[in-house]
Symmetry: C2
Subunit: 336 residues, 2 copies
């Protein structure tokens, strides 16, 4: 690796993150399940197929418009399991607490986890708590890991996008990242932008019921849809071409991105997914998504081509075509 | 809870830890699996019985005599699963890295994880990496979660100790805690005291093969054997009476504890387990343990009585009986 020490961008979900994952973790921990590079691992135990996923949450601040590190930690792992096409069942919760954290903050966070778990119908079945000295952490970090059951026979993987497929998302992009940044920077806009944190497993169930040919399911969190789609374009060796006008975005998020000089395509989402499906099934899938409470603004935002292999491109509103790079990602640290 | 803010002792494995777990986490996350209060959760999925466990590691320093945070993170979760009587299979690894962490340190830690995973025959199948700014963490924190398969029909739980049972451990206590403290405080002794970090699942397999009546299996990490045995005495509503002369301890550890003013019974272990078995089976179990490379110094260290219910007591070498309290635990922060 090029760097001698860890930089913020190693945690960005962008190019340096991928370098760390591919050149260090994958090499050291080498095994075929890990290399599937899904949001979670797909395990077969006897004849049973399980999904297993882990995520640590370090979001700053830990309370923000629309949520807290607590519901984020539940929904994030529920979603990683759901993106494997699995039904989330059991979660672990491990806390690293900084000495001095107000107990009332911890209570509020823990209660938001309990509420989110109930809403997502998952049980928190095991846990751990560590405390470090003042200054050795930043308030609270939470790891959740989870187990889900795969009940279908579909082959869903970032490697499976095919030319001719269409790319669908379930609504407005960029809400989570802008909500966090606004809170952190003390920015206020005409309307408060709230995090879109939500558990997407029932939406995934609707998608799987609508089509037996779902090729890809991912949640575009860190690195935004630019990061996620670049990973898919690489893994599937295809071009993913987005249509700028078709991407659902709140005016307030667009305005905030303009003000902050951010490309909304790299801004993190927490209640959004990307699914890639054959053109023939796209109507059914889109309709099923639009009928779900978390999918009302679902839209087809692009298609899969075999021209600029490994690239994400954007047809802009004025008709030009630009490459959407994998973000380097220093712009949005500790977004989740 | 009595405190308004988090104190170091909330992470000690002692009384304040238990208060946090019982009064906050168990209440909020209420479900029967969590309340089993095992080292991991016992899950039934269809007819399959699984163990699921999580642990975050914040040990300071992250390199120490006999190991690093890396092998500790693998062995710790392998052991939590093994203490459920399960065969560990799949692990997740989630990293929180501080900006500026030398990549060569990270590589060494990751390689020690890979080595420990190979030695324990578990696969690291999924992971996550977050990076926080300089000063927002302390080098590296690692969470591992794991899944194991339960292949026997025994009922092993901290609630199952019975009057008449005997208490067995697999060797010298206190090595890990003293190794860390020596390194941290820059103390040197005549012989270097090394951490006893080790994966105990094959030792557990030997124990389960030797007796179909294993009542309790626990690894006495944070809080030491005092903490673990107090939890068992409470959960089983029995007295656990230790015999001081019978507890295996290195002279160097005893000397270090004297110097540091520490009770060795509260010092953390990483490659030790406690098993509680009926007297009738204790000979077979002890022999099986002594034949295992990680059990050569195994010894019967006490017995289960129904006199001082909920207490751990110690028959001292001079014949007196003292109560061994649940440690409050501020003495040994960030030991794992």
């Amino acid at each position: 690796m090029a760097s001698a020490s860890i930089k913020m961008a190693h945690g960005s979900g962008g190019r340096l993150s991928n370098e760390l994952i591919n050149e260090l973790f994958f090499r050291a921990f080498d095994n075929p399940i890990l290399k599937q590079a899904n949001d979670g691992a797909l395990l077969t135990m006897d004849s049973k197929r399980l999904a297993f996923s882990t995520d640590s949450f370090v979001v700053n601040p830990y309370f923000f418009p629309g949520g807290s590190i607590g519901d984020l930690a539940i929904n994030g792992t529920v979603n990683d399991i759901a993106m494997c096409g699995a039904v989330p069942r059991f979660l672990s919760a491990a806390f690293i607490l900084e000495e001095g954290l107000p107990i009332k903050h911890l209570k509020k966070i823990v209660n938001s986890m309990a509420d989110a778990a109930r809403a997502a119908q998952v049980q928190i079945v095991t846990g751990d708590t560590k405390v470090v000295e003042r200054g050795a952490a930043d308030g609270i970090f939470i790891n959740t890991s989870g187990i889900g059951i795969i009940q279908h026979q579909q082959q869903i993987a970032p490697q499976n996008a095919q030319a001719g497929d269409v790319v669908i998302t379930n609504g407005y992009i960029g809400d989570h990242g802008i909500a966090i940044l606004s809170q952190r920077e003390g920015l206020s806009f005409e309307t408060t932008i709230e995090s879109d944190t939500a558990a997407l497993h029932t939406l995934v169930a609707s998608i799987l019921a609508a089509s037996a040919n779902i090729h890809v399911l991912r949640d575009p969190t860190r690195g935004g849809i630019a990061g996620t789609l670049n990973e898919i374009a690489q893994a599937s060796q295809v071009e993913i071409r987005l249509e700028e006008y078709a991407i659902p975005m709140r005016d307030s998020v667009r305005a905030a991105c303009d003000l902050l000089g951010l490309d909304p395509l790299i801004v993190a989402n927490e209640g959004k997914l990307i699914t890639i499906v054959p053109l023939a099934d796209s109507g059914k899938v889109l309709k099923a998504m639009q009928q779900h409470p978390l999918g009302r603004e679902s839209a087809i935002i692009g298609r899969v081509l075999n021209q600029h292999i490994g690239k994400v491109t954007l047809e802009t509103s004025i008709g030009s075509l630009r490459v959407v790079d994998m973000p380097l990602g220093e712009q949005l640290p500790r977004i989740c």
